[in-house]
Structures are given as C-alpha cells and as structure tokens.
C-alpha cells in the first residue's frame, strides 16, 4: 500500500504542531479518539473574543499517517475562519483533499470531531465566564 502524496507531505511537514495554554479563556481544547483504537487527536483553537475568528490552531496526534495528515490539514483549514465557518468543515472535504481510501475515512471523521470538540470547549468556557461575571 503506497501513501498518497498529500498525506506524506502533511506527515513529513506537519502544519501547526504543538500546544496552546489550555487554561487560557480564549483557548479551546478538544481531545478525541482512544489509545486502544490506535488514534488520539488533540486539537486546540485560540479565538478572538470580539471577531470570533480562530487566530491560531495547534494539534498533536497519536495515530497512523492519515490521522496525522487529517489533523494537520484540519488546523490549516480552520485558521482564519470564524467559529461558525469552522463548524461547517466536513470530514468529506478532508477525505477529498487527502484522497483517503475507505479504510482511512475514520481519520477524517475524527478530525472533524476534534474541531467541534475544541470549539465546544471554548464556548463552554465563555459561557461559564459570562455566568461568573454576572454573579
């Protein structure tokens, strides 16, 4: 089985690898997958509170080459987008972009879930902060 060129490119030169400070109120963190399943993705977003634009995105992934490429591509896709636009990102776009074979589609699903989980975490933090400042 050979790997697709784009997958190899993301694997060899992953974009946006690293971690953001998860304790910051402007940072949302999503961790999806499970070690027993062979994939865990951590995706983080830093969001501008006024414009709701994703200023920065970082990831770390335990998984196969396609999982690493999917999460790398996901961070690239959502950077500069608003929360609403980022939530529109579908796994099928990742599948097409990376030409993932059927057996690797779950990697793209996981990347989509990671985006949603990270944004969800940010929104929860924001809601909690708003509640706290009211009190």
């Amino acid at each position: 089985m050979g790997y697709n060129k784009k997958v190899i490119d993301h694997y060899e030169n992953p974009r946006n690898v690293g971690s953001l400070d998860k304790n910051q109120p402007t940072v949302g963190t999503g961790v999806v997958g499970a070690p027993e399943c062979g994939d865990v993705m951590k995706l983080q977003v830093e969001i501008d509170e006024k414009t709701r634009i994703i200023k920065d995105a970082k990831f770390k992934t335990f998984g196969c080459g396609s999982a690493i490429a999917s999460s790398s591509l996901a961070t690239e896709m959502i950077k500069g987008k608003t929360i609403e636009e980022a939530l529109e990102v579908k796994n099928t776009t990742i599948v097409e972009e990376l030409s993932l074979p059927p057996i690797k589609i779950h990697c793209s699903v996981l990347a989509e879930e990671a985006i949603k989980a990270a944004i969800d975490d940010y929104l929860k933090k924001q809601a909690e902060n708003a509640k706290r400042s009211k009190e």
Binding site: Y3, I8, Y11, P14, V17, S19, V31, V32, G33, A34, P35, E36, C37, G38, D39, V40, M41, K42, K60, T61, F62, G63, C64, G65, A67, I68, I103, H106, V109, L110, E113
Partner: protein
C-alpha cells in the same frame, strides 16, 4: 549501503544466489515430469527430487521417505490437520492447539469445528509459551492430534517442543508442529523432539516461494493421512499433483546450505539482533520487548514503542522494511491477536514493530536502523498528545476515552 534495508525476514527471504543457480536448469534443460518413468527427462527430474528430499530430511533428522512436498506451509498445515482429522475420526474428534498459532492452523481448526471436530485453543503465558503440562491436562480419550508451533512468527517465542512431544508420545496422541519460523534458527531433530508431523516452507529459508513440505512420520508410529488434494497419487497418495521440480530442487539446496551455515549464522544473527535492541533501548525510553527475553529465535525483535502508533512509525522510517502489529496495517482493523493473547494491552499493540534480521543483514545496516528508529520515535513523540500527557503527569488509564 543500499536503501531500503530489509528487516522483515519472517515475512519472506530472498532466494540465495546459489539456490537460484541450482534451480535454473530445471526450468529449461531438465524440464521433465518427475512422474514420467519411461524416459531420460523423467529420470533426471525424479533423481533431482529425490536428492532434494534427502537434503530436507537430513536438516530435520528424518528419512527422505517421510517428506511430502506441498505448495507451501499453509498447505502443509491444512494437510496435517485435515488429513489426521479425517483419517482418525473413528478414534476421536478432539484436537489441541494454541491461541497464537498461524492463521493457517487457526482457520483450518475453525473449518474443522464446522464439521463437528472439537478444538481446544490453549492459552499462552505472557511470553507466548504453552507448557507440556497444559497440553497434558487438555488431552482426553477423544484427542487425536496436538498442534503447537515451534516458534511464533510475530514474537519469536520458542515452545518446549521436545517436552510436548514426550507428553504426546506417552498419551499416544499425534503431534504436529508448524516449524516454519523455527527451522534454521535452532537445531531440529524429529526423533529427539518426538514430532510426528512438521510443516516447512522453502521461502523462509532462502529458497523459492510456492514450495513447502510436510514431514510425516513413517514408523513408531506410522502416521496416515487422508489426502486433501486428489489426483494422480503422487507423494505416496498423500498429495497429488505434478511435482514442482525447480522449486523442490531449490528447497533442497536451501536446506543443504542452511545446515552448513546454521551454527555460525545463529551466533551472528543473535549478535545483530541484540545490537539492534541495545541500540534502540539506549536511545528511547518507554519501549517494551514482546515475547520471551531468552527463549526466542535468534533473529526476532518485537518492540512496543509506547505513545507512537505503529503504522505512522513505519511511514517515518520507510528506509526500513519492517512489519507492525498495529491494526492500521491489517485489513481487519484489529490489532495483532498474538500480542493480545500474551496480554499486551490494545494501546501498546498498536505501537508494536517486528524487526527480523537474516542472512544478508550487515552490521552497518543495523547501525543505520538504530539511528532511524530513534530519530522517528523521537519525532513522533513530539507529535504525540499521549506522550505529552504522560510527561505532564497525567495517568492515561484514568481518562475517559471516547473512542469511535
């Protein structure tokens, strides 16, 4: 040094150039059918086959009449199990094997279960061994066959074949061993080991693909088999079909070379394997050896690299031809059943890599491999959220993972 470096000798081996040279005339000049009894072409082919039969028999301490040629070890395993099951079904319907056999054994057992045979799959210990005691306790008056592999193809663990052979002899149960990975890596003697049936493959010992053999004991006791392939009654009726003469000639030559070089090769391969293991473990932390620390074949190394998934590891070190127990490398999406059977947790099974060295492995290739493995594991751990969590003091076992 030529890249990529082949470190997957358990999967297959290149044909030794000398073997290839020996085979060549049997494709063109000496193309005769070994069953043609009435002319020179047939006689030449037949005598070449008989020479090979003797070379293979000598390697395992058998007599040449006890070697039945097959298309490979998968067929040998099928013939041993199905052949005994059908021939001795009046005597009993129970077969004992282990949970970490090759699929050629396990799937054949599943097929026999559908036909009413009862199979006991003995569990193995944390190293992948089954004890003679466990075999003894599993034998019932209905048991007709015990099949235990000599060495496991993934983790390299050796089983106590001679002890199991003794137990089988005492209880008058036939004993088959799949010796595909064991042959050439430890001395084999069917008498000393008490083996009645033994599966062998040529392409794992620097011979060609598509040829294998089944050793079938002829006396004390004389083992009889119901054939699974019917036809012209070749191989004393146990395996019909025109003999693959070039393949057989190559198999014989490969066996002869193996017997000559084995004592030195075992020492050399063990040294290279140990060098690889020492080099890797001095360079990265949190790695685990799968299989037995000592009672393993000299050329096998199976390591779990915690927090780094196997397929991505192989992708990062594509200059090394190795294999992985990770689910991502199999069509089934299930991690290795062998690692599972020895109690390796699923998360660690996903991180396992099997290295196997062989006749053409050189010292500088091992140096290169060590460097490449360390480099790739380090790079992927920088990318691993799990490694980061562990370094931050998070207990991964306490996290509620979602899965998918």
């Amino acid at each position: 040094m030529k890249l990529p470096i082949y470190l997957d000798y358990h999967a297959t081996t290149p044909v030794d150039p000398e073997v290839f040279r020996t085979m060549a005339p049997y494709f063109t000049e000496h193309f005769g059918n070994a069953a043609s009894r009435n002319h020179e072409f047939g006689w030449v082919a037949e005598s070449a086959v008989e020479k090979a039969r003797a070379q293979i028999a000598r390697l395992i301490g058998a007599s040449e009449k006890e070697i039945v040629f097959t298309s490979g070890a998968t067929e040998s395993d099928n013939l041993a199990l199905i052949g005994v099951a059908k021939m001795y079904k009046e005597k009993g319907n129970h077969i004992i094997t282990t949970s970490i056999e090759h699929k050629a054994i396990l799937d054949t057992c599943h097929a026999l279960e559908k036909e009413g045979f009862e199979i006991t799959y003995l569990p193995v210990d944390q190293y992948g061994q089954v004890s003679a005691e466990a075999v003894k306790n599993a034998i019932t008056p209905k048991t007709i066959l015990v099949s235990v592999m000599m060495a496991n193809n993934e983790i390299g663990t050796l089983n106590p074949i001679a002890d199991i052979g003794k137990v089988c002899k005492e209880r008058k149960v036939l004993f088959h061993t799949d010796a595909v990975q064991g042959v050439g890596k430890n001395p084999i003697d069917v008498e000393r080991m008490g083996v009645d049936l033994m599966s062998l493959s040529a392409h794992k010992i620097y011979g060609p693909k598509g040829i294998g053999a089944l050793y079938v004991r002829r006396r004390n006791p004389r083992v009889r088999l119901e054939p699974i392939i019917h036809g012209g009654g070749h191989e004393r009726g146990m395996r019909s079909g025109t003999l693959n003469v070039p393949g057989i000639v190559g198999f014989g030559k490969a066996a002869e070379i193996l017997q000559q070089v084995m004592p030195e090769e075992i020492v050399r391969l063990r040294r290279l394997r140990d060098k690889l293991w020492d080099g890797i473990r001095n360079g990265v932390d949190e790695i685990y050896l799968n299989g037995h620390p000592n009672e393993r074949i000299c050329n096998n190394l199976n390591i779990s690299f915690a927090y780094v998934e196997g397929e991505s590891l192989m992708m990062g070190m594509k200059e090394l031809a190795v294999s992985s127990g990770s689910a991502c490398t199999s069509a089934s999406l299930e991690p290795s059943y062998v690692l599972k059977s020895i109690g390796v947790s699923e998360d660690l099974a996903h991180t396992s890599i099997r290295f196997s060295v062989g006749r053409f492995t050189r010292e500088d290739e091992i140096d290169y491999a060590v460097k490449k493995v360390i480099e790739t594991v380090t790079k992927l751990r920088d990318l691993s959220p799990l490694y980061e969590m562990v370094k931050d003091g998070v207990d991964l076992k306490k996290i509620q993972w979602g899965g998918h």
